[in-house]
């Protein structure tokens, strides 16, 4: 079950990642381009895919757009382009997480651990829990109530929806676009992103112990938000 597919054209990086992951007792398969990667993903059914966005035969974002529907794995994209738009595009296309080159081994291993926890959650999700518990935060989906240290927190309907959305996607970076689409519907303008930031600021004040060192909802500036899962 701990099978990882690496799709990356740079030999040194692939080698270093493979070595690192093998020492951690993961089962690693490698692909040097998108086509091979897709074939291996179908035949081996890995739990996690580490996908480089700059592939020789196709753009990584296109790869996700084309194959996401056929692949059940958690996808972590790796990009050397340090710009928000490419990360956002990959996440919107269906990637679960991202890493920016150069990354260090600790970072990579942490993301992989998170990814496997997701895989485990995904399998147990069938039980469709009607409760969410993380640290002092308790969400009762059935009664649609939120408690912090057993005291009910009063949220506006929008704050409530956003919190539920992020909690259901715990550990996954949700782009602003994804959240806006979920809450407000389809049309997205620059003003919406700003409104979202205001709503998040209010939500943060209601549930976080510190606004600059949040423990529940983490900000990925310029990309989106993620519910903490560490």
């Amino acid at each position: 079950m701990s099978k990882i597919l690496i799709i990356e054209d740079d030999l040194s990086i692939r080698h270093f990642v493979t070595t690192l992951l093998t020492t951690q007792k993961y089962d690693v398969i490698e692909a040097g381009d998108g086509q091979t990667g897709f074939a291996l993903a179908l035949s081996h059914n890995p739990a996690v895919i580490i996908l480089d966005l700059g592939l020789p035969d196709m753009d990584g974002v296109d790869w996700i757009n084309n194959y996401r529907i056929l692949i059940n794995a958690i996808i972590i994209v790796v990009t050397a382009r340090d710009d928000h738009p490419s990360k956002v595009a990959a996440l919107d296309a269906g990637a679960d997480d991202y890493l920016t080159k150069p990354f260090n081994s600790g970072e990579l291993l942490a993301r992989i651990r998170v990814a496997f926890r997701h895989v485990a959650d995904k399998n147990s999700v069938s039980s469709a829990s009607d409760e969410f518990l993380y640290r002092d935060l308790h969400i009762d989906f059935d009664k649609s109530r939120v408690y912090l240290k057993n005291i009910e927190v009063h949220l506006t309907p929008i704050e409530h929806q956003i919190l539920l959305f992020l909690a259901r996607n715990q550990g996954r970076v949700c782009t602003s676009r994804m959240i806006i689409k979920e809450i407000w519907g389809n049309t997205i303008t620059e003003g919406d992103a700003q409104n979202l930031r205001v709503v998040m600021a209010n939500l943060r004040r209601k549930i976080e112990p510190s606004t600059t060192q949040p423990i529940y909802i983490l900000t990925h500036t310029g990309v989106g938000y993620r519910f903490n899962d560490e």
């Binding site: 928000h84 620059e190 992103a193 606004t211 600059t212 310029g222």
Partner: protein
């Protein structure tokens, strides 16, 4: 116009008749007093003198002279009320009287005209001096041109338009701001094309015309002075041409200054590029040789090296590559800023989200304690979040690098009017005044006592400065109390219209 001429003739005729009548009436009184005839002649001469002084044109002086002689003859020589004379010596008297009065009249007239001309000339010269002074001192050419336009209108007592044409932007500006009608626009175009004085007749009138004077600068025609519907004298034309020359000169000067500034900027950029290149090649080679050397040593002597030495060498490799990464990132940001704000991703961000990201980067730092001070309410800033995070990271990294272990670093933000003031304050040794002056210069790096830390390119703070300034803010370094320094910078809460 004909009406105007008529009024002028009428006024002059009235003057002639008035003085002639007054002289005649006065002379009747003199005759009653039985004063000598000569006083009557002198009275008439005086009237001719006044007529010439007050009327315009020599012809009225001459008419007055003739009128005087005839009146004298008619009223005051025997036989009275006829044009005949009793003795022929009167003809001599008439002749003298006529000659004297004509000479008096013309001389007076001449003086009058000359005074008037001198006044006008003086006014024009004064105006030209003013105009040239304004052009010379003008920080703003627009303003000087507007002023020229109003002065010219005033002195010519008519409407004046100045059209400037920028060769570079192919754009016309009209002072005062109006839209020229099609006929004028075409004439202006022709005037620019031919670079020659153009006058267009209106109706059948020969004298009244629209005038177009080209402004000829060194690079070609760059404007037109338009004076609609006037009859210009030669002197007025000269004045307008002088104004055109002044304007051309001012435009040339302006262009020259702009060009000089541009080339200065280019030289400065070129100098920086060369400096940067040499600094980069030196500073990149050093850590690279260390990395290559360490790794090769390990590869070639793996069996003979003990574990501690290998780990030590690899530690160097790790820190050197980290250093290389930072340097490359800095160089990349600097290149991005040099292209201006075109590639910037300006958005309204909330300060706490930016701080959150900065803090997460320093979460593993155990040597210093980073504390935060921000307003309770959410505060927006209009920034490219990645670049501002970079500024804060650079400032905090500096604070960590140059202040003693376990001291505190304060990261704060507060709102002031339409700005947010950010601050990174440390409790380190602080900076001397000389260092404070040079600290934002490119390639300035601190002298550290530690031999382990590699000296940077000194790019970090100069990049911070460039980023903050590209956002329309300012950055300064101040003393902190009791010790240390405070890096303070401002950012806008809202963007300008052209950003949004």
């Amino acid at each position: 116009m004909n009406r105007e001429k008529f009024v002028k003739h009428f006024r002059n005729s009235v003057i002639v008749l008035l003085f002639l009548a007054s002289a005649t009436i006065f002379s009747f009184w003199l005759r009653e007093l039985k004063w000598p005839e000569a006083t009557i002649i002198l009275t008439y001469l005086l009237s001719v003198f006044f007529t010439s002084r007050l009327s315009e044109g020599f012809i009225y002086g001459i008419i007055a002279s003739l009128g005087s002689v005839i009146s004298f003859n008619f009223f005051f020589t025997q036989p009275y009320y006829t044009l005949r004379v009793s003795t022929p010596d009167y003809f001599y008297t008439f002749g003298i009287m006529l000659i004297v009065s004509i000479i008096t009249g013309t001389l007076t007239q001449k003086v009058t005209i000359e005074t008037k001309l001198a006044d006008e000339r003086e006014a024009r010269i004064k105006m030209l001096i003013e105009v040239s002074r304004e052009f010379f001192q003008a920080m703003n050419l627009d303003q000087a041109i507007s002023s020229l336009q109003s002065r010219l209108s005033h002195i010519l007592r008519t409407e004046v338009f100045i059209v400037t044409y920028s060769l570079k932007e192919k754009q016309m500006v009209v002072y005062p701001s109006t839209k020229l009608n099609r006929q004028f626009q075409k004439a202006v175009d022709d005037c620019l094309k031919e670079s020659q004085h153009l006058s267009i007749a209106i109706n059948q009138d020969v004298l009244l015309r629209h005038h177009f004077f080209p402004v000829r600068s060194k690079t070609g025609p760059t404007g037109v002075i338009v004076i609609p519907q006037v009859d210009l004298t030669a002197a007025e034309k000269e004045l307008i041409e002088a104004c055109c020359a002044q304007l051309a000169l001012a435009q040339d000067r302006q262009r020259w200054i702009e060009k000089q500034q541009e080339s200065l900027l280019e030289i400065e950029q070129e100098r920086m590029r060369v400096q940067l290149l040499s600094a980069i090649s030196h500073d990149l080679r050093t850590p690279l040789s260390s990395i290559i050397g360490s790794v090769q040593t390990i590869v070639e002597n793996y069996d003979s090296l003990n574990k501690d030495i290998i780990l030590d060498l690899l530690g160097n490799v790790s820190s050197d590559s980290q250093w290389l990464l930072e340097t490359v990132e800095n160089i990349l940001s600097m290149m991005r800023i040099q292209d201006g704000t075109i590639g910037f991703d300006f958005q309204r961000h909330i300060v706490e989200e930016i701080f959150e990201e900065v803090l997460s980067i320093f979460s593993s730092v155990k040597t210093h304690r980073i504390t935060i001070d921000i307003p309770k309410e959410a505060v927006f800033v209009y920034v490219d979040s990645k670049l501002i995070i970079k500024v804060l990271i650079n400032l905090i990294q500096n604070a960590i690098k140059y202040t003693p272990k376990s001291t505190q670093i304060l990261l704060s933000a507060k709102k002031q009017k339409n700005m947010v003031i950010f601050e990174v304050a440390d409790l380190g040794p602080g900076l001397s005044d000389g260092e404070k002056l040079r600290i934002f210069d490119r390639f300035y790096s601190f002298k550290t006592k530690s031999q382990r830390t590699r000296q940077g390119l000194g790019l970090g703070l100069s990049i911070c400065k460039s980023i903050v300034e590209a956002h329309g803010g300012t950055i300064r370094v101040l003393d902190n109390h009791p010790t240390g320094c405070r890096f303070v910078f401002t950012l806008k809460i809202k963007g300008d219209e052209n950003h949004e």
